[in-house]
């Protein structure tokens, strides 16, 4: 993995490293050459790792007090909130942690979209990322079911019923998922099992994600290939470590705001009512991070096609590296793509808002237009744009635009004209 041979200094270290080269791995990670122009949008990988660890640690501690049974789950969550020492804190970190995780992952994904990080040679990193994102949605959904409140129960009912749209075998699959004829105790126990398992699957995929990243190295805001190590790179430690650390600190302030000052603002009051299979809450709405896809589901007036549209909206991302025909990675050098990028961001935000509103009248109309545009962006605009767009010439190195754009032009010129 490492670009150069590494020998530990101490005798004991050398003895160990010859038998298990962990120190070589650690050396690779600290010396890992990183583009020196990475901006703060690149710090979300580290932030996401923090989110995953936080969810695993708080989840493990919650599991020590939670009871996965339809008659006791709701009460055991209240027990955690009221009786368990710091139970309220651990649960609020876990519940808001899910939202923070998605906030960070959306920024991370949109960063990739802007700077073309999904393009060759980084397609596998991107696809592993999409799988992680799908697993995150599965874990978040099943986690939301565990408190066994009204939103838990009806959310579980609606989402599992999506499978009933599959012709012929759909009903059988839903019964199999439920372990009965409705969402009930067997459903709760298996969701708890899977909710416990998925974060560890994600952890494994994160290792592959980073491994795949370390083969070509990081993309960067200029989006050009760079030699590594070279004048265009800095070692990961301490340069990136300190930058990631600072960004993480800022992120934790936002996180702490939600945990301590608005712990329930991202949830639904209905989930503090115990699950009742006889009454559906008047407005059932998924958590905010699933709203754009929920809007797509509802904007199609046919059950099967609605489900197909919703799943396609996610899976279309997996083939994005082949839909985007442009060889230029960074939107900085693609004036038209840059505009379409921001239209897409607005489109997804509009879809999210429409997902929270009732599916009728003007809301429904706007959701339909936004859904159509979403697919238009990926299926028509991106392939055509790559062939037609006149891009801005790329710089030869990361250093070139930095010096060219320096306010101190004279100094930059002098450096450039200096003979090697």
């Amino acid at each position: 993995m490492s670009d150069h041979e590494y020998t530990p200094k101490s005798k004991a270290g050398k003895w160990f490293n010859d038998r298990l080269p962990l120190l070589t791995l650690a050396n690779h990670l600290t010396d890992y050459p990183t583009p020196k122009n990475l901006n703060y949008w690149w710090t979300f990988g580290g932030i996401l790792t923090f989110c995953l660890i936080t969810q695993i640690v708080t989840g493990l501690t919650l599991a020590m007090h939670y009871i996965a049974h339809a008659d006791m789950a709701f009460e055991s969550v209240e027990h955690i909130m009221r009786d368990v020492n710091y139970g309220w804190l651990i649960r609020y970190i876990h519940a808001n942690g899910a939202s923070m995780f998605f906030l960070a992952v959306y920024i991370h994904i949109f960063r990739s979209l802007f700077y073309g990080s999904y393009k060759s040679p980084r397609e596998i990193i991107w696809i592993i990322g999409i799988i992680i994102y799908l697993l995150m949605m599965a874990a978040a959904f099943m986690g939301y079911v565990l408190p066994w409140g009204q939103m838990s129960f009806w959310g579980a009912t609606v989402i599992t019923n999506l499978f009933s749209a599959i012709p012929l075998v759909g009903e059988g699959i839903v019964t199999w998922l439920w372990g009965g004829y409705s969402v009930d105790n067997p459903t709760l126990t298996r969701f708890f099992t899977l909710h416990y398992l998925i974060p560890f699957l994600i952890l494994g995929l994160v290792v592959l994600h980073i491994w795949a990243l370390h083969v070509p190295g990081n993309n960067n805001p200029v989006g050009i290939d760079i030699k590594k190590p070279s004048k265009d790179t800095v070692p990961f430690h301490p340069y990136i470590v300190i930058k990631d650390g600072f960004a993480l600190l800022m992120f934790m302030i936002v996180f702490a705001f939600f945990v301590f000052y608005a712990p329930n603002i991202l949830g639904h009051a209905d989930n503090y009512i115990e699950a009742n299979p006889l009454v559906t809450p008047a407005h059932i709405v998924p958590e905010w991070y699933l709203l754009p896809f929920y809007a797509i589901l509802r904007s199609v007036p046919d059950k099967l096609l609605g489900v197909v549209a919703m799943l396609s909206a996610i899976l279309i991302l997996a083939v994005l590296p082949w839909l985007d025909t442009s060889k230029i990675r960074s939107a900085v050098f693609r004036p038209l793509y840059k505009q379409f990028y921001w239209i897409l961001v607005a489109d997804v935000l509009i879809l999210g808002y429409m997902g929270a509103m009732p599916a009728e009248g003007l809301y429904l109309l706007i959701a339909r237009v936004a859904t159509a545009y979403y697919f238009l962006h990926f299926l028509v605009i991106l392939p055509v744009l790559g062939l037609k767009e006149r891009t801005i010439p790329l710089p030869l190195s990361i250093t070139e635009p930095v010096l060219g754009g320096s306010p101190n032009m004279a100094m930059a010129k002098k450096k450039e004209s200096k003979p090697e």
């Binding site: 006889l278 809450p281 059950k303």
Partner: protein, 169 residues
């Protein structure tokens, strides 16, 4: 693939893979099937409901196999409305006569066929039921008239044990 004639060894490979695949499937099946409804869930197959206190124009909701069942004693207007609908106006054409054998009593699963929410009584554009989740409208026979649901609300197997009792399942 190649022009070479298959050898004894190729036969052994294919046979081993085939036996291995059958063995793997036999081991996987119990692990998959354990998730299907178990014997105790299947045993809760029927429920008896007392309907003597129900007056026309009212609905009771009872739980059967974990799902709500609507039992509605319909008014004459509702019956007339349900029976006058033309088949070509229906998304899922079913005669009201087939859905409610005894016209006064409509017994059906109170589960929206879209994504499984419980529709609300006396709501919607067709005076029947309205699903708050994704906006499906049902008529006084529980038939889908407007919205994303593909089918009418399901009629479970039921029978009148006597004039005051219905057995569902």
């Amino acid at each position: 693939m190649s022009d070479k004639k298959p050898k004894r060894r190729d036969f052994l490979f294919t046979a081993s893979y085939a036996v291995g695949a059958v063995g793997a499937a036999a081991v996987v099946w119990p692990l998959v099937d354990q998730m299907n409804p178990d014997a105790s869930v299947k045993a809760l197959a029927s429920t008896e409901v007392d309907i003597s206190s129900l007056t026309p124009g009212n609905t009771i909701t009872v739980l059967w196999r974990g799902k709500p069942v609507f039992i509605r004693r319909r008014t004459q207007e509702e019956i007339a409305e349900a029976r006058s609908v033309k088949m070509e106006d229906l998304i899922h054409p079913e005669k009201d006569e087939d859905r409610a054998k005894n016209p006064e009593w409509l017994v059906m699963l109170g589960v929206c066929t879209h994504l499984g929410c419980v529709p609300l009584n006396d709501k919607g554009d067709y005076n029947g039921w309205f699903c708050p989740c994704h906006g499906s409208h049902y008529d006084t026979s529980g038939r889908i008239r407007k919205g994303p649901a593909p089918w009418n609300m399901e009629i479970p197997k039921y029978e009148f044990v006597n004039t005051n009792t219905i057995k569902i399942g």
